[in-house]
């Protein structure tokens, strides 16, 4: 469903991502891994529209999306979370989930001002959906809590919930397990598998190898901006180049 072809980005003279190719199948949990500075998050940012690639293409179900602004990419069905939590801090949990549905709500400015019946109906539906999502991510009962008052792990989960609120077909998770304790990590893994079961494809960048190996179907390994391996977790773990990159042998 997502096809990345010869993806390249340069910052000044530095080639951060160099001719990377990979394809994600519908319904997969796909991992993008690599040592620090390998270009994972940069690739991620190009897919979600934060950066425009210098060259190469990104296609979502055959449609070019590279270089489109973030808000349009979200409308096309890609939602993401961030490495550093990026919630609307002074809004409640519920409000965060309502904003998450922004691109799926139709009522524009005129009907909002006039408070037409359709608008009320839509608001009611949006609220209902937000509560369903809270239940799905096991944060039910916390809808009126201000989001920055949640414990850290729950803020990360809320960010995933907010991304789900836009009904994505592809969910990008940028180091979702960062800073979580083992229990939280297990819950997160269960959640990601539940998300996949809903038919949502997941692309995830992660440092925690055990976490990635445990839940992904396929993995792409980057090192210094280049792809060094692509395959199932078993294949990747056996790959010589990957072992060298991670264990830092060579020289």
């Amino acid at each position: 469903m997502l096809k990345v072809t010869d993806l390249t980005i340069k910052f000044g003279g530095l080639i951060a991502v160099d001719s990377v190719n990979f394809e994600i199948n519908k319904g997969d949990i796909f991992g993008l891994i690599g040592p620090n500075g390998a270009g994972k998050t940069t690739s991620f940012n190009m897919i979600s529209g934060t950066f425009k690639p210098t060259s190469g293409t990104i296609e979502l179900n055959g449609q070019r999306i590279d270089g489109k602004p973030m808000y349009q990419i979200n409308k096309l069905g890609i939602a993401r979370t961030y490495q550093n939590i990026n919630l609307f801090k002074s809004m409640t949990v519920l409000e965060n989930l309502l904003v998450g549905q922004h691109s799926r709500l139709s009522s524009g400015l005129p009907s909002a001002v006039l408070r037409l019946g359709k608008q009320r109906h839509e608001e009611e539906a949006a609220r209902k959906k937000a509560l369903e999502i809270l239940k799905f991510v096991s944060l039910d009962g916390k809808e009126e809590v201000q989001s920055n008052a949640l414990p850290y792990g729950e803020q990360r989960i809320l960010e995933i919930g907010r991304a789900l609120a836009s009904d994505p077909s592809l969910l990008l998770l940028d180091e979702p397990a960062a800073g979580m304790n083992p229990t939280e990590k297990n819950q997160l893994a269960d959640l990601i598998i539940k998300i996949r079961a809903k038919g949502i494809t997941v692309l995830l960048v992660e440092h925690d190898m055990r976490f990635v190996m445990g839940i992904t179907d396929r993995i792409c390994v980057l090192n210094y901006g280049k792809r060094i391996a692509l395959g199932t977790p078993e294949e990747v773990q056996k790959n010589e180049e990957v072992i060298t990159a991670y264990l830092g042998g060579g020289d």
Partner: protein
């Protein structure tokens, strides 16, 4: 007692007018992180438009007011779209963006002088029956009451718009976190443009409401700009509720000092309070974020 009521009403009229401007200062600061110094001259320009429609072309007051507010909304929106957004996209430093609003403000003042000449223009009364309203034993002009009522309605409408509508929620989201908001499918440039439009429309409303008690001239804005900015700061810069409270405090302070002490001291007191607030409680009444982290 008579004096107290008329000073109070005068202070509220002034405070509400400042409020219409300080709301704009805070809305724009919250949405885009920039200060916009065109506010005061948008007020003046809006008042002139309404004067043109009402006094010259004899359009009914309500229609003149609505027309002027809509036109000013588009002027504010266009200003962001055609100038400020271009500078921001070029990654101009903040100071250049702010400077461009000062330049725009002067251009607007000059344009008003060229279009409507430099004389002060008399704004005809809004109500046919010009007899003042009796509040107890004090008499208050209907225009003053109208000013206060309309300003309060505008503030309540803004509150509902921001908190209860999808568009308002997306505006607040974009103001809090631009990256996350655009990631949620919100076109942040659009929400910022509309914020400038709303700020201009509020300024225009302020101008129209205060026009009958003052004369309309190209210098009308200059008496409101600095004090409404001070109101926004005292309330907590970037907080719209603070902006209203701060503006009312400034308006009341000014009229009470003029009324009970001497008008010679009013500027002294208003700006003295501003400096004290900045030193003692720089985050203002509503705890705005003031220091860089």
């Amino acid at each position: 007692m008579n004096m107290f009521i008329s000073v109070l009403v005068g202070g509220l009229v002034l405070g509400c007018t400042y409020g219409m401007l300080s709301l704009g200062f805070s809305l724009i600061y919250q949405a885009s992180g920039y200060m916009n110094f065109t506010q005061a001259n948008l007020l003046m320009f809006g008042a002139f438009l309404a004067w043109q429609f009402y006094s010259e072309w004899k359009i009914p007051f309500i229609a003149s007011m609505a027309l002027a507010v809509v036109i000013m909304f588009f002027i504010g929106w266009m200003m962001e779209r055609s100038i400020i957004r271009v500078l921001v996209a070029k990654k101009a430093r903040n100071i250049y963006v702010v400077l461009s609003t000062i330049a725009l403000s002067i251009i607007m003042e000059n344009a008003a002088m060229l279009i409507w000449d430099a004389r002060p223009h008399y704004f005809p009364p809004i109500f046919k029956d010009s007899a003042p309203v009796k509040l107890g034993t004090a008499s208050v002009s209907k225009e003053s009451i109208l000013c206060i009522v309309v300003a309060i309605c505008a503030m309540i409408a803004l509150h509902f718009f921001l908190n209860k509508t999808k568009f308002g929620t997306s505006m607040r989201a974009a103001a809090q976190n631009k990256t996350a908001a655009s990631c949620m499918g919100i076109n942040v440039n659009r929400t910022i443009g509309i914020t400038y439009g709303i700020a201009a429309a509020l300024a225009c409303l302020g101008g129209i409401l205060v026009a009958p008690t003052l004369y309309v001239s190209y210098g009308l804005g200059s008496q409101f700009g600095a004090k409404s900015f001070a109101g926004a700061v005292i309330g907590g810069y970037g907080n719209i509720y603070g902006a209203i409270v701060g503006a009312l405090i400034i308006g009341l302070l000014e009229t009470f000092v003029s009324g009970y002490v001497s008008s010679a001291y009013k500027e002294f007191v208003v700006y003295g309070v501003l400096i004290l607030v900045m030193i003692i409680k720089p985050s203002g009444i509503f705890n705005a974020k003031v220091y860089d982290e």
